[in-house]
């Protein structure tokens, strides 16, 4: 307080900087223990996606004779019918799951936002047609649509990414579009026009940046959802194929033996999926609440 007293007199108000993104996230971390937990899970998932395969204590895709062993001090999560070490594979799977989800989310965020911007800012028949296509996509049960598309185009990681991206484009498109529809009426947009800016420059320079926050806050939630879909597709055999370490495929491989008491093959990857999806969802919710609070 004494510091403010000795301050030189200000002719003008102090130039206040609003709390930046970093400061706001820090505030969120301070106030929400759920967000803290979520963030820890997300960070671990991302780290495993990078180094998971390298810290495995056992070869990931080489069959051994130690089949169907329960959890022990050697194999912490036990082994499956091929003799793979489940603990190593659970740690290595984010390489596939998180990467697919990340790529799919990034693609849908980019394409969805772009289309949302264009259909919202330049309204016309082209934009309306895009909206009707989007309606059609959203009218299908998502998982069924995913299965159909993957089966039709072939089971590859690229196709899984494309399918999940396609499923999520409508969400980001609608979010951006609703922002743009209100932003385009704001005075600063007309001010840019009256300065002589081109419409395209106004759309990308002024409207897009102001409309991004809801989409960015939605992204982690979509990530969690994408992990779930990836695992789901692999579980029914439409996605990643064994022996590639992937949580959904691992659950599937243990599904037959769980009835005879060999639960570890499915349960540990299942817990991994739940935790990861939960972590991403909580982080996304936190960011979204933050965005809603402060705009």
């Amino acid at each position: 307080m004494s510091a403010t007293d000795t301050q030189p007199e200000l002719e003008f108000e102090e130039v206040l900087r609003p709390a930046g993104f970093g400061a706001r996230v820090k505030e969120l971390l301070r106030t929400s223990w759920l967000f803290r937990i979520g963030l820890v899970i997300v960070v671990i998932a991302v780290i495993l996606a990078i180094i998971g395969p390298y810290i495995a204590r056992f070869p990931l895709e080489t069959a051994t004779l130690d089949t169907n062993e329960g959890p022990s001090s050697k194999h912490w999560f036990g082994t499956d019918s091929n003799g793979f070490d489940i603990f190593s594979r659970v740690l290595a799977a984010p390489r596939i799951d998180v990467s697919i989800a990340l790529a799919a989310t990034a693609i849908s965020l980019a394409i969805g936002s772009l289309l949302g911007l264009l259909t919202g800012y330049f309204r016309g028949w082209a934009g309306e047609s895009v909206m009707r296509v989007v309606d059609t996509i959203q009218a299908f049960p998502l998982f069924v649509l995913a299965i159909i598309v993957v089966v039709m185009t072939g089971r590859s990681i690229q196709n899984v990414i494309i399918v999940i991206a396609l499923l999520n484009i409508p969400i980001f498109l609608r979010m951006m579009r609703s922002q743009v529809l209100s932003l385009r009426e704001r005075t600063f947009v007309e001010a840019a026009r009256s300065s002589g800016s081109r419409e395209l420059n106004i759309a990308f320079g002024h409207v897009l940046p102001n409309g991004l926050s809801p989409g960015l806050a939605q992204a982690p939630i979509t990530m969690g959802f994408a992990i779930l879909v990836t695992a789901g597709l692999s579980f029914i055999g439409a996605g990643v194929q064994p022996p590639t370490p992937e949580w959904g495929a691992m659950i599937a491989s243990g599904a037959d033996t769980i009835v005879i008491g060999e639960w570890w093959t499915s349960v540990f990857p299942g817990i991994a999926i739940s935790l990861t999806v939960f972590g991403f969802a909580v982080v996304g919710e936190g960011l979204r609440a933050m965005y809603l609070r402060q705009g």
Partner: protein, 692 residues
């Protein structure tokens, strides 16, 4: 009646406490009208809520007492409070639309209010509601009782709230900025009706306002608040003529163009009551703060200047001398006439000429349309300021947008600098935009919240000049200097800057490409009074230095008079009168212009709006712009209406060169001064009984 003594209200929080109200003493004697004036954040509302026993949240009354009608309110039980609140003390809130329940008929709402305090039958309550609506001047009260709030105009909604607050004949009525959202003509009517109703019921009135015109015209005594304390209190005439507190003088200087101490200003933002400084709370903002006088160390007591004039300032004896007189600064010639009204504007060819401009907004799904501009023609000469005045809905903002072709007009021509804007290609139009700019009403909305101010000022430079990156940066600093801001503002984002500063930034952006014409769309209406005066001064200054032409769109006639060479008066999409500032303000001819001018509240208690001026007021409601009358648009509201007015659309008739009026009675000399005088006398006579 109401005696507040040494009241302090604080909001304790961990670490630091907000001292919202500090040692406030305030009296509202029976039958008087008291004004409470202060910037936003000065503690006016907290004080009001404390008087009503509604201190919010963690707030607590730390000291003092509130005596009302012989009782100490602070010792009352919650039940007794409830009886007083509404029953004995009525409140007219600020936002009339938000204060009414949108899903209930207004008759029901008034009855409910009444029945909460009176043991009456529904029929009695209903009769009371009808009586009240008549009292507050609502036409056709039986029908209005059954109306829903959305069917009422803002002025009517405010009247309903006044009726509600008066329903139990309270001994005190508190009006919290009762007209801040209303148009000028409506404002004067609502205030007249409120004062009359209050007198009829025999209440006292406490008016909270920032508008000194209201204070001068309606109040007997004034309190001015700063940082939660009373800075000065005085009877209204002394307040306007012998103010001694620097904050009061600054306020008067900002709102009264003829005020003697015109150079006094308070610096910076309102004092943060969370972190009150030592000494006088205002010493950092005050240009007269002096170590020797103790301004920095000792909090000044509220001292008697005269028995009924108190001031909280160490230097109150010297301040009026230090503040300097109007004659001391500037040349007498300059100060005698309003700065921009001197001499005729240059007469060589028009910079902008608008011919027969029409703008309709179609209503989707029907053939109907909203008529926003109809047959609007005028010229703007280089270096001139053309004022466009009118109430909200008169089409003045649409006109500004059409002139710049930010909206496509439905018909007519706009010729700018010899080029017809509608024959230009998109590219040519973009090029031409550097010559015509606009400054908007809402300071927060007109700048992109994400980009730094500097970047936004650079944008037009990038488009219209071939300056290098560093030259552009240099130019931004230069522009900020021109609008009186430090360079550091270039790096700030809009959030966190005050409205006045933001408006300066918008002006800097507008002048960046060296335009010839700037459309000023109510550039000061969202600003506090002090900032408003500064912006007007700045615009004047820039016009002189840069030779700009302005189209100044405003509903504030005092500003238009001070600032414009020529004035266009708009009513319901049409120009009803156009003339030079001197002509129009000295001798308005059209009945609408007369009503508009008569509704101005001068910040001078010796020039109160008289009964005669009230006679000019318009009757009834503005017609809908979708369904306009076939004759003169004013016919249904005009005192001087004839049959011909109802059937014959009115042309803009020239009176003398440069002065046109859309009224056949004026143009054919049919409307005489004698008739106007007669009408004034009639209203004065009918106003007298209920004034006594």
């Amino acid at each position: 009646m109401l005696f507040v003594r040494d009241l302090s209200v604080e909001y304790p929080e961990i670490g630091r406490t907000t001292y919202a109200v500090n040692d406030v003493s305030l009296d509202v004697p029976a039958g008087s009208v008291v004004g409470l004036v202060g910037e936003s954040g000065s503690g006016k509302s907290t004080l009001t809520l404390a008087i009503l026993g509604l201190t919010r949240g963690r707030g607590r009354i730390a000291a003092g007492n509130i005596e009302f009608d012989g009782e100490n309110l602070l010792e009352l039980s919650e039940d007794a409070w409830r009886e007083i609140r509404g029953g004995q003390i009525g409140l007219v809130p600020q936002n009339p639309r938000g204060a009414l329940d949108p899903a209930e008929r207004i008759g029901m709402q008034i009855e409910e209010y009444y029945l909460a305090h009176r043991d009456a039958t529904t029929a009695e309550a209903n009769a009371r509601a009808l009586e009240l609506l008549t009292l507050v001047g609502i036409n056709d009260p039986e029908r209005r009782l059954r109306a829903f709030p959305h069917e009422l105009s803002g002025g009517m909604a405010q009247r309903v709230l006044i009726a509600m607050a008066l329903s139990c004949s309270p001994k005190l009525l508190i009006a919290d900025e009762p007209t801040s959202g209303l148009d000028v003509t409506i404002q004067a009517e609502v205030l007249d009706d409120m004062r009359r109703s209050v007198e009829a019921v025999g209440s006292s009135l406490l008016v909270i306002t920032q508008d000194l015109g209201i204070v001068a015209n309606y109040c007997d005594r004034v309190y001015i608040m700063h940082a939660g304390e009373i800075a000065e209190e005085a009877p209204v005439e002394r307040f306007f003529e012998n103010a001694t507190h620097p904050a009061t003088i600054a306020l008067l200087a900002a709102q009264d163009q003829h005020y003697e101490h015109e150079r006094v200003r308070l610096r910076g933002l309102p004092v943060n009551t969370r972190n009150l400084p030592s000494g006088c709370y205002l010493h950092r903002r005050c240009q007269f703060a002096d170590h020797a006088a103790g301004c920095h160390d000792v909090r000044p007591p509220l001292t008697d200047v005269l028995p009924d004039h108190r001031v909280r300032c160490h230097r109150f004896r010297e301040v009026p001398e230090l503040a300097g007189r109007r004659a001391d600064v500037g040349t007498p010639a300059e100060s005698a006439a309003p700065p921009h009204a001197r001499g005729a504007a240059p007469t060589n060819g028009a910079l902008l000429s608008v011919e027969g401009l029409v703008k309709h907004f179609p209503i989707p799904g029907s053939d109907a349309y909203v008529q926003a501009c109809q047959d609007v023609s005028f010229d703007v000469k280089p270096g001139e300021t053309l004022g466009v005045v009118g109430e909200s809905g008169s089409g003045k903002t649409t006109l500004g947008r059409c002139v710049l072709r930010l909206l496509e007009p439905t018909g007519g021509r706009v010729v700018f600098d010899g080029r017809d804007l509608h024959e230009l290609s998109k590219g040519e139009l973009r090029q031409l935009r550097k010559d015509m700019q606009i400054v908007y009403q809402e300071p927060f909305d007109s700048l992109n919240p994400l980009l730094s101010v500097g970047r936004q000022i650079r944008e037009p430079l990038k488009l219209h000049s071939d300056l290098s990156r560093s030259e552009r940066r240099e130019r931004v600093h230069e522009l900020l200097g021109l609008v009186g801001l430090p360079k550091a503002v270039a790096d700030a984002v809009p959030q966190g800057l005050s409205p006045g500063t933001l408006q300066r930034c918008s002006i800097a952006r507008a002048i960046a490409p060296n335009p010839k014409l700037i459309v000023l769309d109510e550039p000061t209406s969202a600003l506090p009074p002090e900032a408003e005066a500064d912006i007007i001064r700045l615009l004047n200054d820039l016009q002189e230095r840069l030779g700009l032409s302005y189209i100044f769109i405003s509903h504030d006639l005092a500003l238009v008079r001070e600032f414009c060479n020529r004035v266009v008066v708009m009513y319901l999409s049409q120009i009803v009168e156009i003339g030079t500032q001197e002509e129009l303000f000295a001798r308005p001819r059209h009945p609408y212009s007369r009503a508009l001018l008569a509704s101005v509240l001068e910040p001078n208690p010796r020039a109160k709006r008289d009964v005669g001026a009230r006679a000019e007021r318009l009757e009834g409601e503005i017609p809908s712009p979708i369904d306009l009358p076939s004759g003169c648009y004013l016919a249904s509201r005009c005192h001087f209406v004839r049959d011909r007015c109802r059937s014959e659309p009115q042309e803009l008739y020239p009176l003398v060169p440069g002065h046109d009026v859309r009224c056949w009675r004026v143009s054919e000399n049919d409307l005489t001064e004698a008739e106007i005088e007669e009408s004034r006398r009639r209203v004065a006579a009918s106003a007298n009984p209920d004034a006594g």
